[in-house]
Amino acid sequence: MIRLVAERTALGLLTLLAISALLFFGTNLLPGDVASALLGQSATPEALHAIRISLGLDQPAWYRYLVWLGHVFEGDFGTSLASGRPIVAEVMPRLGNTLFLAGVAAIVSVPLAVGLGLLSAIREGGLFDRLVSILSLMTISVPEFFVGYVVIIVFSVQLGWLPSLATIDSGMSLIDRLEVVALPAFTLVLVVLAHMLRMTRASILSVMSAPYVEMAFLKGLSRSTVVMRHALPNAAAPIIAVVALNLGYLVVGVVVVEVVFVYPGVGQLMVDAVSKRDLPLVQACGLVFAATYVGLNTLADVVAILVNPRLKRPR
């Protein structure tokens, strides 16, 4: 089993390496090189040449990639071309903000989604199940910026309970921070809840007709016990996968929510960097996003192996 886990981890690292190459060469395909972007229209050929040499742009791309990768392994992403600040110092506070928001949303949404999913599976076809079904279908079909605006209009403009701007600050206390991120986190919960909930319900129901479940019923166990004790462990793998996917989304896919609530997260940073052709910053953000996704998916695989006895022994 340890071998299996090690294999998954190695595979994750390999994926990350492939992504880093894609990112590096992909961003280098953007029209215009960095030197001409820096110098602008009035660039003289000598100045262009000097900048190319100082940035190492006269070296072949594969060599520059290796140098860049080497620095990245040492935790050095270089400096931003637009602001001249070190990229790590730019990205870290933003990443912290994003993780905080994602964390708050995850702490609420994951137990809620799995719990509601289990409940609807237990009460399949009942009033509760149908209600949850309709509500989750509704939230899943509405785009997130719309959810965000509705939430703002209700809770901030009409009721005046919570701020519509999620400007977060390093000097804030936890309570203040929670108040500030309440609305964006709520929006994110609504957006990711339905997906996880429906997946939980579907995976449980898919194993409900299996012989061992019937056996459990024949033993005279109640439906809730059967679902929790016998169906859940076997249905866990797809649930964990979908939870990981949504957690990844909470970190990587929240740009729209960040814009609506003016939240200083890493998504907004990347959008700004792309528009200013600040390639080192784009690459750093891209790598952070990729690492999040790959990391969460690897973790999901590992956890799925751990909770499912059958997967522990590969056939």
Partner: protein, 527 residues
Amino acid sequence: MDERILKEGPRGLDRREFLTGTALLGALAGAGAGLSLASPAFAQSATPTTGGTLRLGMSGGATTDTLDPRTFTDWVPVNIAYQIMNGLVEIDADNKATPELLESWEPKPGAKDWVFNVRKGVEFHNGKSLDADDIIYSINLHRGDTKSAAKAVLEDIVDIKKLDTHQIQITLTDGNADLPYILSDYHLFAVPNGFTDWANPIGTGGYKLEKFEPGVRSITKKTGSYWKPNAGYVDSIEVIVINDITARINALLSNQVDIINRLDGRTVDLLKRNKKFQVIRSQAGQHGVLLMNCESDPYKNNDIRLALKYAIDREKIIKTVLNGYGTIGNDQPIPRTNPYYNADLPQHGYDPDKAKFHLKKAGQENLKVTLQVSEAAFTGATDTAVLFQAAAKDAGINLDVKREPSDGYWDNVWMKAPFCASYWGGRPTADQMLSIAYKSDAKWNDTNWHRPAFDKLLIEARAELDQAKRKELYGECQKMIWEDGGALIPMFIDYIEAGTTKVQGWKPHPMFDFMGQRIGEKVWMPS
């Protein structure tokens, strides 16, 4: 909404530098330069009070912003800079160049040499008192070997000489009666001689930087000893970057900010219904333009250009696209609020028959052209093109609208496509507007229009100190562009901003929105 910031490209200089600003000059400003839409029930209180925090929700900031004036490409850093530092010359509400750190000036005959007196008794935040060396250093940051976006604006300056501890002389290549206006450029801020620490700018402004998170927010606090009389009322100013227009309006509605900038015509009327808010509208030189390349087919032929100018329904576009927040354009870039505006030119209006006449003259009765547009050009550019398409059909013109992505529009389409949409923010003076986009050798001659006679006239007007004569010369310049130029200018677009009625002393400004970005030191908020 904010594709405009994306305009940076390999040119390095953001085009916005050269476009923003408006072109009202002088006396007429009072007549039409701006009208406050604030309800009379909330008349501004006459006596300013001190205290409170002013919170600005602004579009126009990015995480890549810095406080180095050479890099300013959008409004948020400019606004913050004016809280901390002072400019050299200020443009007042009547669009006149008034003293700021340069206290007075005198041109020598011919307007080639100018003497400027530096204000005495002004101290920087670090205690150093302002003198001529500081001013010379601050101007030179944007001259010669520099990445400054204001470099092109100052190109005509040959030499800056120190005459005295508080007096300098500036020498130009050719005479220019507008030099004080040029020195009002929003990149020119005074810092101490030799200053380089742009993370913590030291200025002579009424506020000190407390916190600056690029693209997020800034906080400044009152220094308590500001040299400017009747300015710097609030205790602190907070700028919050909100680039999304809906988020900006929500922030105002939920009382998280006191004022917001850059509203569009379609949302203003909703706000105006609410008595808690005031709307400030500044009529300005900002205009939308459809550019025809005068050297490429079929736009080479002036009859084709005229046919297109008669085939567009300007009134309808202003009503639909701008919701009325704009003025009709007459295919020349000087707004009617400018004292040099040529009012004698007949208005180009929608006239399919005239358009057909010109098409026939050009032998192109079934003209088919493609107009390339993007929202990057100006908000509503696509709608403008579609309305144009419908109107042009009646003149027998088959206008094909091609939508281009906003990202890269200024690099890939502008000044490359033969017929495309664009905008100009106008310039503080007629000379600047005409020099930057219509002079034969202008870098941004985006209609590829070359008329030596026009250039001669323009240079003559520039050095002319007699106002009547000057007006005549500029009038002739406008006429030439009007009858023969490649710019189809359907409308001038107003700046609209909004805020709570608590903010007092807030007025329209003929240059930029937010009172020329100096709103921080000008308004007060009675508690």
